[in-house]
Assembly symmetry: none
DNA sequence: TTTAAACTTGCAAAAAACTGCAATTTGATT
DNA sequence: AATCAAATTGCAGTTTTTTGCAAGTTTAAA
């Protein structure tokens, strides 16, 4: 008997009776209790049922629906997103870049805030669609598999027709002297076009990225109007950024 | 025995019993287990079945779908998607519309098939990004909240620059006399632009939608090159569509 | 608190999967 | 028809996965 068959049977049994004992399953399926235990453990890890001492119960029986987000430094990004939201007014026209910080911004947008919102990022667009008072426009183009964003020539061309009030962008690396830098050339080109399409550009950036750099340069920091980190404004790590004529939140 | 023939037998066996052991197949087909294993691996990559340790299970049988989708008539849509996939060749340039049937098509695209793929639909784009050999281009524009698709003037304009080999579209309603109709005016305009951007248009349509109509007309059926339903070609429900000079799968 | 059942961990045997290679078949081209 | 390149297939050696068992620990119910 295939493992898949066995697990399928286990799921059926759990759905049918809402609860099962490992010993009963082992008996019914003609395998050792250890095997059943391992199966149930796997199914539990796949969120198909919930393992309990001595057996398993069905998902519907409890109120467990954990879609766990595994975002690095999520708490910091939430702080940043909230600060960014404080810049927004009703009927602003904004652009939201990709990356997990910008995604957090999209998630946390107040439902009563009226916005017109451009984006290049598939996940951000998904979130924006859930906001009843946000009109979402996706900037088309070739999609990058790892960043799930539109980028490249046709995206850059589409951006040339746009001028938004604020754009919120992330960056791979930022340094007070070298400015914003990236690992990837396409990303740099696209971010440049985003900045060009904005009256004001807001950089969202967790403190881990401060004072780091890589091979391709997006822009110098003086092109940025506002930089938002999770740090308090008087934090020492921000010292080097304070001479640069940019607003720091 | 030809490879093609053998793989066909394997598929039959899987569909019939929901599960098979590699050893049984090797025995039955008089080839080595390695050969069967390679066949099953290929079929798995083409999303015709799911390879598991020791054998294979049919698509509908899997417990490995963490979030069980609650799509109406999913099994029918899977049949339709498989038929649609049989039209595709390496290096085809295609466009995939929104809707759950088209989404299923995107999900089931073989991982080894090289495609350039345009789409207007956020969920479809998400799926396409998971295919290593598919280059995905999103047609930008204002996003509709309920259909999660780009539509409207800017989308239509972007489509005017494109001519794909095949477009796969869904429809709200279809009738042999009135053709494709929709509830929504914007949708109709966008679908017209999609059809214009295609050398050949393929309609994906579950049988429930046959012989139904609504207020806005996308096009007459003679504009469609191929219509795919889950029905067998000789099904009586398809009778009225057979005079229309369209290929029916 | 006691105690039997359930769990964890490590291990070993068997089954299955993967890898590289060589023999064979297939197909296209001259 | 001859020949070469590519695909297919089976085999042998190695690695991984699965499974049951045993020894020690934890859990939960009386």
């Amino acid at each position: 008997m295939l493992k898949e068959e066995r697990q399928h049977s286990i799921l059926n049994e759990v759905e049918l009776h809402n609860r099962v004992l490992l010993t009963d399953l082992a008996d019914k399926l003609n395998v050792s209790v250890d095997t059943v235990r391992r199966d149930v453990k796997e199914l539990d890890e796949e969120n198909m049922l919930i393992k309990v001492h001595g057996g398993a119960v069905s998902l519907g029986f409890t109120n467990h629906a954990p879609q766990r987000n595994n975002v690095y430094a999520l708490d910091k990004k939430i702080i940043i997103a909230k600060k960014a939201i404080s810049l927004l007014r009703n009927n602003s026209v904004i652009l939201i870049d990709g990356g997990t910080t910008c995604l957090e911004l999209a998630k946390l947008l107040p439902t009563n805030l009226k916005l017109t919102c451009f984006t290049l990022s598939l996940p951000v667009a998904m979130e924006l669609l859930r906001k009843p008072n946000v009109e979402t426009i996706f900037i088309g183009g070739a999609l990058s598999k790892d960043s799930q964003m539109a980028m490249g020539p046709s995206t850059i061309h589409a951006l040339s027709d746009i001028k938004v009030d604020y754009s919120f962008i992330g960056t791979g690396y930022v340094d007070p002297e070298f400015g914003l830098t990236e690992f990837d050339w396409d990303v740099v080109q696209t971010k440049k076009a985003v900045i060009n399409a904005s009256k004001k550009t807001v950089l969202l950036c967790i403190s881990e990225k401060l004072n780091s750099q890589h091979r391709f340069k997006t822009c110098h920091l003086n092109v940025i109007n506002t930089m938002i980190t999770e740090l308090e404004p008087w934090d020492a790590k921000l010292e080097a950024f304070k001479n640069l004529n940019i607003q720091i939140l």
